[in-house]
């Protein structure tokens, strides 16, 4: 007689050298290299890679991937709307909003009445450029921990944007150069500026143009944008300019009149980090959950187990232990299995 033992979640969602692998569905989630079948949580380069034979993600992320990798980089893309269930092998997959960037999703996997949520990157703050994070209760919740230390408490983004506007006002001869990632942060900063009543044209680096246009196509209104390359000499004084963070150190920046270098990132909350990045005006604006959001979320999802991935796993695991929640680092899951064999 076969005795039925309790199914362990790590038996059907495992860490392999190719990435996080769902055994009964035969697919990877955000694999770092090209694989046969991949589910993608969002379009950032450390999650979405080109060359998968088959990629499944939200329509917005699929659009972002096609924009970034060209049609050849996503030969067979399939889109799945938020909230729609799809059966893959013996697994049911559903994508729910993660609130990180446009199209970002949590992958909700169900197998033999066990539910694992792979959150990808997420935040809980209001963001007009993407659908808000959806709490999905589950047995196992896989959380990021990019800002998994109690020193990370992101201030209100509106207050940070007020600094940009103040800086612009008090330095009419200079331009304010805000360093932003091309996907997500750029569009969010633009929307925050608009929400603060700034309706003048915003100048953008060429690397941001395509994704800004893509956001517009998805119904995110960004207002008047102008290309820095087309600007006349003198036109950029007193203007707000957005560019990838590295551009400030690039020869490209020489066309700007004595720029005030602002950097919008969650790391800016720690002064040594902000100085390292050469920020004169650090703006703590993050698309990742801060400490309070992370700790709130691991309570909200009511999971039996929390798996913590990329970032400062140790502190979040410590927090969970102090609150009677079972948690471990995801990278250790694979190693544990090896040791038990």
């Amino acid at each position: 007689m076969i005795r039925k033992i309790k199914q362990r979640p790590e038996d059907w969602l495992t860490v392999t050298p190719q990435g996080l692998y769902c055994v009964p569905g035969d697919f990877y989630i955000d694999p770092p290299g090209a694989v046969a079948r991949a589910v993608i949580t969002h379009g950032h380069a450390d999650h979405a890679r080109p060359g998968h034979e088959h990629a499944l993600t939200t329509p917005q992320t699929l659009d972002i991937m096609r924009h970034r990798f060209g049609p050849g980089g996503v030969p067979d893309g399939q889109s799945l709307d938020y909230g729609t269930s799809l059966r893959i092998g013996d697994v049911t997959l559903r994508l729910e909003p993660a609130g990180h960037v446009l199209g970002s999703a949590q992958a909700v996997l169900e197998y033999n009445s066990q539910r694992i949520v792979v959150s990808g990157d997420y935040k809980r703050r209001a963001d007009p450029t993407c659908a808000p994070f959806e709490v999905v209760t589950c047995d196992v919740f896989i959380t990021e921990a990019t800002f998994g230390l109690p020193v990370f408490r992101h201030p209100d983004a509106g207050d940070e944007i007020a600094k940009v506007l103040h800086s612009r006002k008090t330095n009419p001869a200079r331009s304010v150069l805000v360093g932003v990632y091309a996907l997500g942060k750029a569009q969010r900063v633009i929307c925050l500026l608009r929400a603060a009543g700034y309706d003048a044209p915003i100048y953008i680096h060429g690397a941001l143009e395509g994704l800004c246009a893509l956001y517009e196509r998805h119904g995110i209104a960004l207002g008047a944008l102008r290309s820095v390359t087309d600007a006349q000499t003198g036109e950029l004084a007193g203007q707000i300019v957005l560019a990838p963070p590295s551009a400030a150190r690039d020869r490209w920046a020489r066309r700007l009149p004595d720029p005030i270098v602002a950097v919008a990132s969650g790391w800016m909350g720690v002064r040594a980090r902000a100085r390292q990045r050469g920020a004169e005006l650090p703006l703590t604006i993050s698309d990742h959950a801060d400490w309070d959001e992370l700790t709130r979320t691991i309570h909200d999802v009511e999971a039996e187990e929390i798996w913590v991935t990329h970032g400062r796993e140790e502190a979040l695991i410590r927090y969970a232990a102090l609150h009677g929640i079972s948690a471990r680092a995801l990278s250790l899951v694979g190693r544990d299995e090896e040791e038990s064999q």
Binding site: L149, P150, V151, F152, R153, P155, A248, R249, D250, R251, W252, A253, R254, D258, V261, G269, V270, R271, A272, A274, R275, G278, A279, E280, L281, P282, R312, E314, A315, R318, Y319, L322
Partner: protein
Amino acid sequence: MKAFARLLDALAFQSARNGKLQLLQEYFATTPDPDRGYALAALAGDLKLRTAKPKLIRELVTERVDPELFRLSYDFVGDLAETAALMWPATEGHCDPDGSPGLTDIVEGLNRLTRSDTPEQIADWLDRMDATTRWGLLKLITGGLRVGVSARLAKTALAELGHVAVSEVEEVWHAFDPPYTEIFAWLEGRDPVPDISKAPTFRPLMLANPVDESELLAFDPTAYFAEWKWDGIRVQVVSQRDGNGTLQKRVYSRTGDDIGDTFPDILDGIDFEAVLDGELLVVRDGVVAPFNDLQQRLNRKRVDPKLLDTHPAHIRLYDMLVAAGEDLRDLPLRDRRVRLEDWFGKTQPTRFDLSPILDFSSWDALSKIRAGARDSGIEGLMIKQADSAYQAGRPRGPWFKWKRDPLLADAVLMYAQRGHGKRSSFYSDYTFGCWRQDSNGSDVLVPVGKAYFGFTDEELAQLDRWVRNNTTNRFGPVREVEPGLVFEVAFDSIHPSKRHKSGVAMRFPRIHRIRWDKPIEEADRLESLEALIE
């Protein structure tokens, strides 16, 4: 405290001097007394405050948050005040902007509290603050703001507030204590210039302009005094009786910082009433020691009694500003010199001597004297109009400095680093090296110095292009380049140094010429630099 913390935060991220000045002025203009005065004192390093030990801060935090989470956080942030400020638990509804304590409450509170009451009071303040304000408070009470503001810069901002010269602020500065309400009242036109006659204040120094021989030829040599420019640090000795008849003794640096505590040997030698201008040196048996020896006595919090013996301080006098309460600054130099010599002959103070006046009949003769100077204690010549009054600042004309010709070496560019501010997209800081033989007998370059000026904007653009096209390796903001470009480097002197791999350190190095034409093999060898050590 909130406004002061915001100021500190902004200053910490502002690397440009003008940007810092703008922030300081804005703060002084919009902050009421006495807060701004205490802020000024804190920035100028003149705020006497009962400080809190790092241990106390650590205890306060770990009473409130898990010690393990604190350890992990501190490990990441690397700064105790910042870690504590960021992770201090927010007290709901407690942190209203009006309820947060002011800088004055904090300064006065700390000086009133007993040691045992202090921790509880600090915790209460922290509860009522936001993260940036907590950081500012913790920086203030743990000592060392480190936001890149010198006392001089703070005073410059203050002077601009009152539209006066910074020398005027420096002159009254030492007559008052924090929170300097008298100084603010004067600068804002509410009070006349304060009376400082009874205070041992700093008299702003008279400085000289650089000159070369061709410029000197236009002047009449008999109208000038010449003396050696000694290679120490310029100081002003102030000794006068206060209202109670007590002798107040000060040794001020060029920028008006009181460095007397570092030089008790000098203070002990003062038993007179005068204000004197001179050069602080280390002198052994009448011989001036290299600048490096003096360097070891500077910027020390605690005086090392051994160094007092091995590195005895001495002041070589140039000028006399006040004699027995009489201000001599409006007299011509020749009369001041007579007063100085008379006074010196009568007083014979220990640890002081006179800088001799050199005898010369023509500029050519003086040039020969200058060329013959090989003493390591001599930086060049001072040439002063005999009828010049003692004026604050660097007036054009009356005083010149004619430095010794710089030493030159050909060195090879090895590393380049991006600059700051306007130069942040340019590789503008250059590390260069000379040849030496390694243990295998082959020639290798070893860094001998670093310079970031001496070239035009146009040359900077060319250098930047060269660096970008010849990069072999990157380390953060630094690029290693393929050896291929020779600089003719100028420097004032060169000294042995244990801190540098090459074993030598250049004083005041700058790029003299860019030798686009010169093959790197023809650059100097380390041995020829070592031969220049005096």
